[in-house]
Structure formats: C-alpha cells, structure tokens
Symmetry: D2
Amino acid sequence: MIRFDSDYVQGTHPRILERLLKTNKTEYPGYGTDEHVRRAKAHIQAACQAPEADVHLMVGGTAANLTIIASILRPHQGVISPDSGHISTNETGAIEATGHKVLTVPNTAGKLTAEQIRAMHDAHWAKGNREHVVQPGMVFISHPTEVGTVYTLAELEAISAVCREKGLPLMLDGARLGYGLAAIGTDVTLPDIARLCDAFYIGGTKVGALFGEAVVFPNPKFGQEFRYHIKQHGGMLAKGFLLGIQFECMFEDGLYFELGRHGVAEAAYLREGMLELGIPMQYDTKANQLFPRLPDGLVKTLLNDFTFHQWEKPNETETVIRLCTSWSTKRESVEAFLEAIKRG
Amino acid sequence: MIRFDSDYVQGTHPRILERLLKTNKTEYPGYGTDEHVRRAKAHIQAACQAPEADVHLMVGGTAANLTIIASILRPHQGVISPDSGHISTNETGAIEATGHKVLTVPNTAGKLTAEQIRAMHDAHWAKGNREHVVQPGMVFISHPTEVGTVYTLAELEAISAVCREKGLPLMLDGARLGYGLAAIGTDVTLPDIARLCDAFYIGGTKVGALFGEAVVFPNPKFGQEFRYHIKQHGGMLAKGFLLGIQFECMFEDGLYFELGRHGVAEAAYLREGMLELGIPMQYDTKANQLFPRLPDGLVKTLLNDFTFHQWEKPNETETVIRLCTSWSTKRESVEAFLEAIKRG
Amino acid sequence: MIRFDSDYVQGTHPRILERLLKTNKTEYPGYGTDEHVRRAKAHIQAACQAPEADVHLMVGGTAANLTIIASILRPHQGVISPDSGHISTNETGAIEATGHKVLTVPNTAGKLTAEQIRAMHDAHWAKGNREHVVQPGMVFISHPTEVGTVYTLAELEAISAVCREKGLPLMLDGARLGYGLAAIGTDVTLPDIARLCDAFYIGGTKVGALFGEAVVFPNPKFGQEFRYHIKQHGGMLAKGFLLGIQFECMFEDGLYFELGRHGVAEAAYLREGMLELGIPMQYDTKANQLFPRLPDGLVKTLLNDFTFHQWEKPNETETVIRLCTSWSTKRESVEAFLEAIKRG
Amino acid sequence: MIRFDSDYVQGTHPRILERLLKTNKTEYPGYGTDEHVRRAKAHIQAACQAPEADVHLMVGGTAANLTIIASILRPHQGVISPDSGHISTNETGAIEATGHKVLTVPNTAGKLTAEQIRAMHDAHWAKGNREHVVQPGMVFISHPTEVGTVYTLAELEAISAVCREKGLPLMLDGARLGYGLAAIGTDVTLPDIARLCDAFYIGGTKVGALFGEAVVFPNPKFGQEFRYHIKQHGGMLAKGFLLGIQFECMFEDGLYFELGRHGVAEAAYLREGMLELGIPMQYDTKANQLFPRLPDGLVKTLLNDFTFHQWEKPNETETVIRLCTSWSTKRESVEAFLEAIKRG
C-alpha cells in the first residue's frame, strides 16, 4: 500500500533521527529549558528575521491552535475563520471547549479576504445591541489552506492591514508551512509572515519532524505568559529537549525548507502527470496537496494499492480525491500512481 | 552536572530508539490506527489481565489527567483528590480549565484514605441544600504519590470498595507506575490496579519512553468515546504509530517492568547510602523518589555538581530536597552523590 | 412613543402584581423551596398532562437555554440548531462559553426538519474519523421561531420521532410559547409539546410575568440534578417564591393562555390591517410577531412615533421590520400604527 | 414559623412595590437601556462619590460573582479568596465552571489580610517554574463576610495597597453591603469602598429589593465590555427597567442605608438580649448575622418556632447557629426569639 492520505505517514528525516541518537544519553533539564530549544529558537528567529520574536515549541497542531486562540481572546470574543478552516471543521470543538465561538465566513478556495474581515468587524460594531452577539476578537487563516491553496503576498498584506486597523490579532496556521513557502510561484516568505502576523506556527509534524510545531509570536507581548497556557492545556512536553533537537536540526542549515521543496516538487510532478492524462484538478493548488476529479470506478481501483481521502462528490459519477505528497514521498510512488491511472 | 531533578532527563531506552530507527521508513496510517498501536494495546491488556480494557496512547501526563477527568465528570461534579495531588498543585488549573473543581482532602504522605472518600461523599449527600455545593463525582489518586509513597493492596482495595459503593469512578495517575510496581515490598500488581480502578494510566515518559502514557479503562464503557475527548483537548498525535512502537517495545517482553526495577534499585542504593551517612528521610519512600533532609550548607555545595528540587524548608538550617532516580540512572552517578555528601 | 420592539415592554399583568402585593409580607424559605413554587409546578404538570414532569422556575431565557444544554450534553457533543436559532445568533456565545459548539443547519422560515436532523446525525456516524468532529448530541428548536412561525403537529412529531430513534434529546425554546399555543390555526398543544420533547420552557417574561421561564423535563431523569446546574450558572433566584407566585397565578386558572391569545389577537388585527393596506409580509407568521416589508421612507416616518426592529434589507428601497405585539398591547396602539401607515 | 434563616425571607420594601405598581403600565425599552436604570446609576455614582464609575444592575449574587471574575481574569489566572469565601464554599463550582481556580488562603473570622495576599503573590513570582501553577490574578473579599464580620478601614486600605502594588484587581462581594455599611462601629463608607476596590457590588436582594445587585467598577476600564459578559452568562434581564426602578428607589433618598441600619439595629438588639441571657457568640459580628452557641436541646426546641442555620458543631453538646436579621425583621420576632430562649 502506497500512502497519499496525509503528509505524516513516516517517522522523521534520517538526519533528525541521527541527532536524537547522538543526544540520547545526554541529560537535560525538563520542559524546554535546555540548550537545544534555545538554539532552535534562535535559528527560527533568524529565519523569520524577527529577533524579538517569542518562540514556543509544541507537539501538535490542534493543541497549537486552541492554545494560541485561548491565550489571545477575551471570554466574549470569537475568532473569525473561513468556514473551511481546520478549527471550524475538524477539531472536535476544540475552540468551543475553551469557551469561544468560531465566527465563520464563506471561504474562496480555502481562503478569506481582507474585505470579509472588515465587513464582519464593521457589522458588529455598527449594531446597537452588539453585546448580544459574540465580538470578533482575532482572525484565523491557514497557509497553505485546507484545500492546498496559498495566499499571495498582496492578499496577506491586505488582511494584515485590516487586522491592524481594526485591532484584530492575526493568526496563521502553518501546519504545512514548509510546503506553502515552497509553493510554485509563491511570493510569500517566512519573514513576510513574521512581519504580517501576530501569531503563527511552523509545522514540523507534516514537514519531516517526528512531531512538533514551532509557535511564533513576532510581537513578544502575545507570548509573554504563553507557557502557562501550554501547561494548562496539557501541551507542555516533559522532555522538551526532543522538540529542541528536532527544530535545531531543521533550522540550523535550511533542512526544513529543503523538505518543503521536496514535497512540493513531487506534488508538481504528480500534478503535471495527471493533467497530461486529462485529469482535471478541483482546486488550483501549488503546494503539496492535489484534488483531482476522477471517475468513481477508477477511484475504487486505485484504493487497492493507494491510500487517499475521498474529499467531495461533485456529481453522480465522479469523486474529488485528496492526495498529499510530503518530505518523504518517493518518486517511484508517484510514478506508480500515474501508472495506475493510465492502466485505469 | 549530574541530574536527579526528574525522571525524564534522558531520551529513551536504546531498544526503543532502535525500533524507531527500524520502522522509520515504513508508511503508517495516522492517529493511532496502525498495527503497532494495536499490538501495544493487546500487550497492555495482557499485562493488566484485562482483555476487555480500552487502551488509549497519549503523549503526556497533564493531558491524560485532564482528558480522563473531563470525560468522566458531569458539569456540576468535582474530583476528590489529596491536596498534594498533581492536579491540585501543579497543573496550572488544567482541571478547572475544563470547568471542574478539585475537591481536596488533606493528604497523609501523599495518600488519601477510603474513610476520607466516604466522609466527603456522605457529607455532601447529607446536606439539605446540596445543590449549592459541587457534587463529588470521582476520585483521583497517584501511585506512586507526589512524595514517592505507594498504596498497599489493602488500602487500594478499601478505596476501590468505597468508590464502587458510592458510585464514584476511581482514577489512578500512574505517571511513575513502573516505579510503583517495582517499589520495595509493594504487594500491588498491575492486574490489581486494573481490577480496582476505573481509569488509570501507565506512564512511559518517566519510565524509559521518549514520551507517552497508556490510558487504560478496565471497564470499556468509560473509554467508548474517549477519542473525541483526546482530539478536543489537542492530544491526538498525528503520528500515533510513534506511541504504538514505543509501548509495543516496552510491553512485548517486560522491558517496562525491568526499567521500573532499575530506577527503584538505584533509589534504594542511594537511600541506603544516605541513611548510613546519617541523613534522615522526610518520607518513607520505596519507589524512585527520595526526600532527604540536609543542612543548608551541604545543599548549596551539592548544587554545584547535581540538580534536584528543594522541596520543603522544615526549619531554619535544613532543607528537604527531592532526588529522582530513573530507568537511566547510572550507578556511578549515585556513587558520586554519596561521595559528595561524605565530602560535605 | 408606542413600543412594538419587543414583547417585554411593560411590567406585569395586574393580577400578578396584586398577588405580589398580597404575599409581600409573608416570610418564605429561599431558593424555590416554598409552597407557591410547589403549587406552580403542580399546575404546570397538569397543564402539560405530564404528572411526572420535573419543573424548574428560572429568571430568563438565555440562562434557561445555556443551563439546559450544558446539563444535557457530554463535552464532545454539540447541539443541532437552525442557523437562525437564538442560541446561534443572539446570545453572545453563551453555549460556546459552556464548551459546546452549536451545529447549525439552514433554516426554512426559522424552522428545521426531521430530515435535516437525520441527515446530520447519519453523516456524522457514517464518517470513518468521526472523533475529529463534534458529535451531534441534542436538538434545539424554538416555537414560535425567531421569525414568528410555528411548527405543525406533524412536523413536531416527525422531529421527535427522529430524535428518539437517534438518541438525541429534543429541546424546545418556548420563550414565546404562550403566543405559539395561541397561534392562528395551530394544532400543537402544550401536552403535545410535553409528549414530544425532552426539555422545554414556558416563557413568562414575554407573556405577562415580571420575569420567569418554567423549564419542564417531561422525563424527570433529565432534570434530576438540574438544580446544581442552575446554581452553578448563577441562575438560582434567592427569593424563588417570586417565581412561584407568578407561575401559580398564571397557571392556576388559565391566565397564561389568555394572555397568549390576547397577544396573537392583536397581531392578527394588525396583520389584517396591513394586508388590507397592501403591505406584504416577509414571513407567514401566525403568532405575535409580524415582518412587514415597507418602503424606507415610511419606516423613517414611523420611527418618530413607534419603536420596532429593522430586521432585513431585502433591496435598496425597502426594509423588513419586526413588530411584536404582546399580552399588554392595546388596541388603540395597533390602530395608531395602522393610521400612521395610512398617512404614510 | 418566624424566619431567621436568611435575609431574603420577604418580598420587598413597600415603597419599592408601590413604585413598581406606579410604573407597571409604562412602556420601556429592554435590557436596562431605560431612564430608571440611568437615574439609578447616577444615584449610585453619587453615593459612591465616584462620578466616573461604571454601574451594571444584575439579578443575583452568584451571577455577579462569576461574571465579574470571568470578565477580569486571564485564562491562566485564579482568584485569591479566603477559604470561607462564598465563591469557594457555596456556589457549586461557578467560578471553576468559567475555567478558573479559586486560590484559597485560611480565613480569620471570614477575612483575609494584606499580608496573605502579598505572601501568595510573592511566592508565585519567586518560583522558577511558575507556569506550572495557576497565577494569582485578582483578590476576592466579602464585606460583611460569611460570618458577619466587617473589615476595618485600615485593613481595607492595606489590602487595596498591596493589590495595587502587585497589579491584582480587588473585588468586594457586597451581597450584604447595606448591613456592612451600618455595622456597629464600622469606619468604612461606600466612598471608601469605591476608592479602594476595582469592582464590587451593592446587594439589593438581601437589603430590601425584590432582587438585584448593583455591580460597580470605580475604574470604568474594567466595566467597558461587561455587558457582553452579562449576556453570555445568561444574566441580562429583559425587563431591565425592573432593576432600574428598584435601585432608583433605594438610592434616590437613602432608603438603602436606612434598611441596612434597620437590619443591624435588630441584630444588635437580639445580640444584647442573648448576651444578657449568657449566650456566648462564636464570632464578634457587628452587622446583621449572629452566631450564638447554644445547647443542642435548646436548638431543637427553637426549631419548632423559628428557622435558622445550624452552622458548626464545636463540641458534643452545643451547636453554633446562624441568625440573620434584615430590613424586614420585626421587633416582635426578635422578642419572641429571646422569650423562647428564656423559656429554654
């Protein structure tokens, strides 16, 4: 079985595993107060061109999302999100469990716009009895989005500008950020994100780490008491050095970016191959997720040898599937998939 | 610097790391739906002599505590805990953040008694206006406790009996369970715990795993929808196979118990050595934590070469410190500590 | 200024005020343990033809909604509601503040259907990874709805049947129930509601009481520990006898139903008057709310002498307004409004 | 049966009921946006000598406590309270249900001291791993306390000073404030409280209103978005004018203070009477609660004709009972109680 169902189907990049092996017998203090975490943070600050940024290493994406949001909002506030956002559709009410409503706006290919944010904000403050309604308190976006699209720099700048004008902290879910930064034709860099967002995280789990997400608060005021929040929500890893070692390894010499590029290159190859075979793509993705529309019979055949998500059913005879490539995707797997399509 | 400040100062047992290396290139499905998790669960069911038990692998102890408790209690209920319990003293209000009060009773060397549970339960139900007060809804104990003591089988049986009589699910925090099961003179076995408790977890993080706690619901009804709760609280590891591989390795042939015995043996050696040097112990611990009372000057000297917690200040001139040994403690480290005390 | 902006613009029906006067010097026990509450409950049980029903008197509607829902759901569950439901649109995230997501489905004139409930339930349970999504745990409807419509008995029976088949407790928000029961042509009675729902409340605030909502659990198992929940959420009135006196007065001889009929009669008169004047109605309401569509200029003129909500803006030149009549609406106010429209 | 079990055994002062009668047919806007609320606020600001104060009228004490605290704290913070505080002992976990721990310190006759606050604050900030523990975020006191004692001005000033030095907002539960302000020998005035606290409420329910608590934020920044919080927790009264009418009536010409003095005068008379009869008092109370220690047999006899709480059981043969007088206590009831004691 060849897996395209997610970007976390294998352990970790060999260089990271070696590093864990090498440090395995060293004794470290707990909870991320060690030297590897310190160095990882410094590398990340450098990569973000944000020397003042506060950086926190966490284990997973849902925990990062809920902890960041709960740490920023006041009780009567909610988070604006596209209706396709992971926090809205796919986290078992994790945000609501911290007491907050997710204020959804219709997505366009997984994205929301500066205008939608402005409109929701202004509509709230124009109301007479606004205290009867949840107050918009921050904005949540993903890059890449749930359907593999990426924001342009102009879009991000417009969103950031309206957020700052309206006093709405902007948070970016970067669970797949490595692939977003390597997306074909993207003009968005990590320093851009650090400049435009108030909180974001750099996903490790999906981009070559065993596990781990680096939460970044470019403006350190947001992160000041964040360790309390991590602990309260059960996210403080006892052996924090495991996170430090991994992120140090990924950011000391650009491994993270390299892994992102690999995942995108395999997706691009797979995409070109399918387009040549006449398979249409449901979303115009440039990162590591593909959404081809296939005849139902072919989908059934492919499931014998490959794993993937059945995403949407646009009509009676076809299914949109989601394919994820990743840092660990082998070219031979991609070729095998294309061959299987050819065979039909 | 030699570390006695916690039982999670090193990575993981070499056998586990080898296993991670060996499986590193295999592709797995996500979220713990893989074969390693399946096998790990079967091994744990066998070790617990509880073939019906529901087993869930989580990353850390605070998350296990808060998720178990939030999944069991109704909103108007609280959890009875000794006032020294980790959930009361040391988790940044994690239980309260899920909406529940921790109902503390005074501890005796870290433990509570069946009589205290009965008394708190009966006092509540004897009240006329009981709805003005939090209803006791379950019981939380640790084994070993925060101060390294262990329950006897008779104590556990009495606690379990009163809990069942009163309809209070009994939960046992086993973050250090490996050491508790190996404690000098203990008559409590893992099957005893599975027989007497409604929920408990087998701590991996402190007993040789990179990370991981195996949550066990001997009565599967408590675990039925537990995966929703794990996800909601941000505790669902994407690469769940990492937990499966570790727990499979620790439970397929008794490694877990061996590591527990090692930690206890080193603690016993250290304890004997200190007693011979005339150092009194504040708590009569038989597992892997020691609480010697030392002159302040000596504490200061020791801090040059060793790490440990300064636990209590019983008088003007002495300090009670906490020393943790573990699966990774080397005899030479213990000898070095005893030497340092001798040198004074 | 004549008020049509809500159904709670005046104090209370004179008979209730007299009763408060008459009992004002009597001493009562606290928290609703008095004889008036006892009698009020008995009258309500009788009116519901539900002698086993558990009845709790609360102060307001939002508190009733959030307390009922929080008392029924498990943490990982959400409440299915039409997207127009008060809990979704108008309660400042009160449900989310108790940790639960409101699972909205598109409304049809304020209502949802049995089929929508079945579809949402079945879609959830058909999923493979359902623990990544909030589990539907109960159903919320209003009668009358936010836009003044009422369910037919057939609709309610279908909803109740699917709820029972799927194990989803059905809750009915009856903030305006008095008007719903008196709605023109309705075939739904209070005993029907008690037979078909698992929880509902009979709104007093909007139907002639100073304040108060009678929460009814026809199946007493749902109400068993409800007083804890009321207290926890700050809803336990110290002088509970004030609620008892009011509901006793409203239910001992049918005053409640009479007040409901009055409000509906005035709405019907107003509706007929406007239809005769050629004013179209946006929703086909039969209870005490009307949603006429008026030219913007006329709306502006009317605002000089009347209060009402500007509900929707269907086009550039017209506005849909909401008019509420109530137990206290005077015929002369209705005539004055119709006159004002005629004058234009 | 003569009631001394609470200070809310009767409806309301006749003057308030008359006012409700007089305004009963007037039409008002909802949610406290009416002229009576406006005037009530102005009267309260004047009585507090705090013209900038933000004033919010709520229905009950538990709701006031939980809403104030939830509106002030950040998620990782708890509220310091004496262990006898109502929020700790008697509100069904209302504070925990909003996600916050109550950080208790031992009370001295119901009070805490400036030194205890300083000690708890400093102990937290002195810790190395403070993020593992709930951060003290505000201070809760009651005046009068649960056992009827009052703070001296010097005590309050010391508490306020340490709170301001440490950045801990100070909240005062004034459910019985009318009696506290009238306490024998007190040197604390309402303007003192407004000057020294960041949030407090003036209890109406126990001091002559039908219901109602006036929440005051002397520094309006704390109250700015408080209406959202009231609504979210279900505490926004639809007919807010009912609260406005009552507080206007109580504060326009000093009725509130007069009612407080009445309750205290009756308590003083009762206290003197009992002392003369040789009955010892457990707490040295100067407001409207008395805690006489009586032989168990006498308690049993008294329960035939009087209601009161059995508070503590200090020994085998005696019981401390709690007697509440109030604005509505009649001298003849007090005499009857003294007579009954004499008869034995």
